[in-house]
């Protein structure tokens, strides 16, 4: 996880349900700790996003919004995107972007999340 005023969480391996719950928990807490205005969840490493994962991601986005941060989902693989749509699990209101760079640009353009600069430290990401 990297942070700045934007919190970046990248998922490196497939997560099972309990790991997802922990991920959700950790992320929500960190939003408060770091006073983040934006959250980027990078799922480029995931080959599969099941309904529970999609639900969790939507829940995270909703909770983050309640705590004052905008969530962007980035890096959904083409096959994953189409499978999700076929199974009728969209991302709801959660905005999506092609990759990290796009996600940051999207946050920067947003009136709430983009108010302050998105400085980040360069600590390597780790699995939550």
């Amino acid at each position: 996880m990297r942070q700045g005023s934007t919190l970046i969480a990248s998922v490196h391996t497939a997560l099972d349900d309990s790991e997802l719950v922990r991920f959700e928990h950790d992320l929500i807490h960190q939003i408060g700790e770091h006073r983040s205005r934006g959250v980027i969840i990078d799922v480029a490493a995931l080959d599969v996003i099941d309904s529970f994962a999609a639900l969790t991601l939507r829940r995270i986005a909703e909770m983050a919004r309640l705590r004052g941060a905008l969530t962007v989902l980035v890096g959904i693989q083409p096959e994953v995107a189409f499978t999700m749509v076929r199974l009728g699990m969209g991302t709801g209101q959660v905005p999506t972007a092609l990759d990290l760079e796009e996600g940051l640009a999207l946050l920067a353009a947003h009136p709430v999340a983009g108010t302050d600069s998105t400085e980040r430290d360069a600590r390597p990401g780790s699995t939550p």
């Binding site: 989902l73 980035v74 959904i76 083409p78 096959e79 995107a81 189409f82 999700m84 749509v85 076929r86 969209g90 991302t91 999506t96 972007a97 092609l98 990759d99 796009e102 999207l106």
Partner: protein
């Protein structure tokens, strides 16, 4: 192409178990010798029958003569050895040569059956006085002849299918081009009927195209596609959703009245679909979304 395993003489002989071993061993060589002896006459008769039946009209008489000779020889050889591999090879080769000239399956099967008939008649003639002998000869001849007819037909159809597959691949590659027109802007012109197979491919190409070109806006132009069925329309909507998940917005242009009707009838949620009347309008909208402003240079001529 499905490769047939070569048929061994064992398998062949399994087809006429009624014969005792000695008889069988003598019969086939006898038969082959007979067919070799009367080769010219039988072949001519065969050619005549082919002409009478108006088969292979796409070929010149010279070609016909050459091909009938080699088919005849191959035929007799298979009768002799029971090994159809060489014939298979020849039939495939022949098919490759004659398919582009519009020779039909029924013609190829027809000529082989004619040859079978001609040879059978000559056997009738030879053994007409000895009925039981004739029976035995036919027992030996028929399965082998059937096998040959089968082999030729299968080889021909295989070859044809191979060509069709090749062409399908070519069409498929051409049918869903994803064109980058500006940085981060893709155009996907769809021309012709969209079936579910093409729609699936379109999705695949579009999504990987979005990734490859880092596209933010995609214009799908379906002016050239007059009609889609419900499944494909649904698929199209899903493609738009999937593109959105990958961070690209999709503009659909050139919806025909009929497609618009289909989309409304199946009741998909169209509020998220960004549709614009024609390709020109779609491009302008895409440029607006990407922040381009296109202005014509002062003084340039418009045609």
């Amino acid at each position: 192409m499905t490769e047939k395993s070569p048929i061994t003489p064992d398998e062949l002989s399994a087809d006429f178990p009624a014969l005792d071993r000695e008889d069988e061993e003598q019969l086939l060589p006898q038969l082959v010798a007979h067919l070799r002896e009367h080769r010219t006459r039988l072949q001519e008769e065969w050619s005549q029958r082919i002409q009478q039946a108006h088969l292979l009209t796409a070929m010149t008489p010279q070609e016909m003569a050459a091909e009938t000779t080699s088919v005849y020889d191959n035929y007799v050889e298979v009768l002799e050895t029971g090994n159809v591999e060489a014939l298979q090879h020849y039939a495939r080769d022949l098919s490759e040569r004659i398919i582009p000239r519009g020779v039909e399956t029924h013609e190829v099967v027809g000529i082989v059956l004619l040859l079978r008939d001609v040879l059978a008649r000559s056997l009738f003639e030879k053994y007409q006085r000895d009925f039981s002998r004739l029976n035995e000869v036919l027992d030996a001849y028929e399965p082998a002849a059937n096998r040959i007819a089968n082999t030729v037909a299968v080889s021909f159809v295989d070859e044809r299918e191979r060509i069709i597959r090749q062409q399908q691949d070519a069409i498929r590659e051409l049918s869903t081009p994803v064109l980058p027109v500006r940085e981060r802007l893709l155009i996907l012109p769809i021309i012709g009927v969209l079936d579910s197979e093409r729609a699936r491919q379109l999705t695949e190409q579009l999504l990987s195209g979005i990734r490859k070109h880092r596209a933010k806006v995609v214009v799908i132009d379906i002016t050239g596609s007059p009609d889609v069925d419900e499944a494909v329309a649904n698929h199209l909507v899903q493609t738009v959703d999937a593109s959105r998940l990958m961070g690209a917005s999709v503009i659909i242009t050139g919806l025909s009245p009929k497609i618009a009707q289909t989309l409304v009838t199946i009741g998909v949620d169209l509020s998220k679909m960004n549709t614009i009347g024609d390709l020109q309008g779609g491009l302008e909208e895409a440029e607006r979304l990407l922040g381009y402003t296109v202005t014509r240079k002062e003084g340039s001529t418009s045609s």
